[in-house]
Symmetry: D2
């Protein structure tokens, strides 16, 4: 355990990157060592020697401006000079495939927020179509990547050199389902149905027909039915066969937040207290999950927090449950989970800077 750590962030211009910057800038362990923000600059940005973070994200500006908080031109030399120990990659998948091995080679530990390193099975990764699947470096890197869901892999994350931060939908669903699967309650023959809904920030910052206000507002639409890339994470982390689970994402007309409604059938009739006890035991020692007892979670309860919220309702015969799982896709679904991983990798309190 160290008092502090020099971090760097690549990809601060996106939505998750902005939240990550906000969290790191107020993290109690990082007060004396603000992160290095690095990326590709245009000519004007280069000429100015960097772009003030407050210009990119005015909401992050302080009263006195943000002189030293510049987005700088990325180079491995810059990271070396600044003594960066921990690198956050909030970058496109392909870029993370290329950069993570190089960072490891230079002795820098990596928390990658993309989908580049999350999937063990080549078959599950196929949907990404990575060009480097045949490379030995990529295979070796993949082999040491740890899936960064602290509630499942806390100890392995602590010692990892490369942590693959989970997908937002995957986090929401795995945390709700895994405890019941682990307790062998669920009858997989009847299938696990995961109907998930996400705010528009999950679709990224690029202006597209899908992210146009006129498409998203006053609307709801299902997409990527049977084909969403987070499905592989569900299979590998929950430990079910592809035929046993179906996952449908929807685009909600709100900026942020995910709610997943999950339908399961039990092998035997269950009582509410037993299910509650299973969840509580599973998440014992997990500071960033909240189990709802009397009510169900709603998206707004989890917004702007680092929590995953889980609640459920049993059918009167105790044979079925509807589970509701909520989180802020930019926080527990991305940035605060990355900070949670940072905390574990540094030996700090898991929830430091997040409550």
């Amino acid at each position: 355990m160290t008092a502090t750590a020099q971090t760097a962030v690549v990809g601060v211009t996106g939505y998750a990157g902005a939240e990550l910057a906000r969290l790191l800038l107020r993290h109690p362990r990082l007060k004396s060592t603000p992160p290095v923000f690095a990326g590709r600059l245009d000519d004007k940005g280069e000429a100015r020697g960097g772009i003030p973070l407050a210009e990119i994200h005015p909401e992050l500006a302080s009263s006195n401006g943000t002189g030293k908080l510049n987005l700088q031109a990325f180079s491995w030399e810059l990271l070396g000079e600044r003594g960066v120990e921990m690198l956050f990659l909030a970058t496109p998948h392909e870029q993370s495939r290329a950069w993570a091995p190089e960072a490891l080679r230079r002795g820098i530990r990596v928390i990658d927020l993309s989908g580049a390193w999350r999937l063990r099975e080549p078959a599950n990764r196929a949907i990404y179509g990575f060009g480097d699947e045949g490379s030995e470096t990529a295979q070796a890197t993949q082999a040491e990547a740890v899936y960064g869901l602290p509630e499942l892999h806390r100890e392995r994350i602590a010692g990892a050199r490369l942590v693959a931060n989970p997908g937002c939908y995957a986090t929401s669903i795995i945390l709700a389902v895994k405890p019941l699967v682990a307790a062998e309650l669920i009858d997989p023959d009847h299938g696990i149905v995961c109907d998930a809904k996400s705010g528009v920030s999950g679709a990224g910052k690029a202006p597209t027909a899908k992210t146009h206000f006129m498409h998203a507002a006053d609307n709801l639409s299902a997409y990527a039915v049977f084909t969403h890339r987070h499905t592989g994470e569900l299979l590998e982390q929950i430990g079910v066969k592809a035929d046993d689970i179906v996952f449908t994402p929807h685009l909600l007309p709100i900026p942020r937040g995910i709610l997943s409604t999950i339908y399961v059938r039990f092998r035997e009739a269950q009582r509410r207290e037993r299910i509650l006890a299973i969840y509580r035991e599973f998440f014992d020692g997990s500071p960033l999950t909240r189990i709802y007892d009397k009510t169900l979670p709603q998206i707004r309860y989890s917004l702007h927090t680092g929590y995953a919220d889980i609640g459920f309702q049993l059918s009167t015969d105790g044979r079925r449950a509807v589970i509701v799982s909520c989180l802020d896709n930019l926080l527990k679904g991305a940035s605060s989970q990355a900070v949670q991983n940072l905390n574990l990798m540094q030996g700090w309190g898991e929830a430091e800077g997040l409550e």
Copy 2:
């Protein structure tokens, strides 16, 4: 078949009532016989001899005001004097239980938009807790009520004296599932999962904690899990056992629209073309359903229209389908369906005034 009909509306102050008024006022068969709007007036309204509709719903005002379009004090005498033949009740359940029999007694046919007369089985009705279940009149009235879903009961509606206009969620789900159940494709052992999402107008006009902007906006919440009152309509109209279907409604942060995502498993693998053919055959002759071939419906496509929109996606093995069903809860889920029923009861074109 008659050229026109004298209609009356009770309950024009609500959201469905306003849409119903709008539709009736522009209906080509009713140009010469505008509906009578009647309800309970306060003292001031009584003293003025009625309240201009444009004061209640400014969006309905014409340029020259709406002199003759007053909300008048309700009395059976008024309906008699005006020669009302068709009565729309957009009233609370209990009021519809009391008023429909009286209207029938007076020779007035009724289209009831409440849940009062939709359910044949006393067990399914129990959730409403009607106080008149023991009454002979109520039983006789119930016996002749026809469930007002034209796509299923077109012919019986035409001759009915009392039509029970379906629930909004129920319309959305029944139209999507019934064709596949009727074709005996679905394996009920695996359950039919109906995950439905509705805009806030479905929760009614009364200001409550649930309809407060601060609760609904930027949020999503599940409610009435395993206990929603529309479940009985699903059981009776689709023809499945309670154990074979689960239905969860959610409150969407939008004014209007319903999207239902429905998960089914087939007895045998199916091809896309077969499913399309089944839907098309089932809805042959139904002018107010649209089957989507290449894409999935979205809420915004159905808003401000009288259509129910249905599309689906098959799993690669053809054993599962995700069906998406959309409609405008105030129109096909309430008012335009009521006009569709009016058209059938009068022998007019089913879609007159609705396209």
Copy 3:
């Protein structure tokens, strides 16, 4: 006056174009002569001989598909073959500058929804930077263009060959201010302040940083302060000096609708009844304006209608007024106003197909 007319629409893919299509397809005079929809097709569209309108705008689909309603490849020959008499241009400014003269040359009357021909004064047009200002054809075309605000220029529109449909903000403000300026009530020395707010559809269909859901939602922003292109329309149509009026547009987090709040000071104290009388007299014979007497207009009252709604509040000393003006920017601010102009140009009832 003719029973019907053959129309054509270029630019049906945009938001105003979609509303225009909807209005024309249900216009009672055009039942037997649906409009020709023409535009630039991609290769695939060319090969198919056109693109079904229902593919572009699923909300416009009918139950039976829309076989004959194709978007066809534009050519002047096509318009000739189809006998097009009236051409709607919902096209970019530059395209309207080029196409309107050609249409006139071919004997086709034009209703142009762009900003190409709205401004008489070269100084006011300068902000558009048209490349053809020196051309004789452009000057001659401009000279015969009539500003298509029926409430001001009803008679000239009727005989016009080229009608320049007004800007959405301009319509909202001119209708609210012109009657009081014409009555010489306003003291221009104190300035007319126009604070206007528009839904996102006003920013067009192109996905941009500004139209991204994450920018517009849960937000409000002012833009084009002192520099908006509709300012010239205010000056020319209201008849005030640039120094006497200030206009600030804002981007509202809603799909459609404009509300303008307008601040004026009177030369002398006024009574409410006098102001009401002035508005009523000015709009006598105008079927698509509504003057509010007891309350103020709100955006939602005007949505999905062809009305401009105007109300006001006087200060207790009668020296100041706050005027509130609302309309649907895609209808009275664009498409329904275009149909209103069509009606006038054809000698039909001004509000036919619009109430």
Copy 4:
């Protein structure tokens, strides 16, 4: 200056109260002394000895529940036992009129978030219709109340026993206008026009027709034209005559945030740099205002922050300016400003716990 202070909050169930609780619970000076939350309990709450804060505001729950953070039954004895030194009143105006004097009598300093004590002039207070205007206690209490806008009254707040936390609209407008009035730049003859827009949380938690989702969503409406209660604050704090300023609030379809667009005319032409310098000098030493140089503020930049954001645009002749002022109405417009006042009254850093 003291290391910590025992605080209490009355009114934690409202929106501003929830934000206040959140801020106080994470305030670095209050870690060891969490606030006392007190209010009126129902019988069930009384019987349980209080209601967990996490039940009232689930978003405030921690992973381990919030055992000790109960809303307790209010009594002056409770405050005495707990040694409360600072009392936050997030209560209705009338309750604050009654309770503030009693707290002062008991030696407890008060920060009142209501409108009870903000206005010096009886004429300006008249709109509230307080029943105790004749009381000597009320007059004496009013006499020592300090208007709690730190940027104007930092020093008097530090020593005050009763601080009247400003209105949300008033904060937004005063901070934008006062620097220019103080520098004697503005020509009052032309009037200062303040067009302000607020999210729905400003309308309070009570479910009403106005706060119903269906009223607020997809809408914009002006209200309280010429009659809003914050007007008195503008007059007293900016120091202008009633005739020189007009203020119109609007209800935005968003949960939180205020944007005020303010129109002023200068005595003489101004240059941008001079205006910038005036703002910067005025707010020198103010850690919670941000002056925008190159762009204009937008609501979303200030959301979930304690900042007031101010920017402006000059007309080309330098004689007019449009000023845009944004803040989060629940924070700088209410709760974070209350904490700012707490910090000043305790001699702590003005922005502690707020950046």
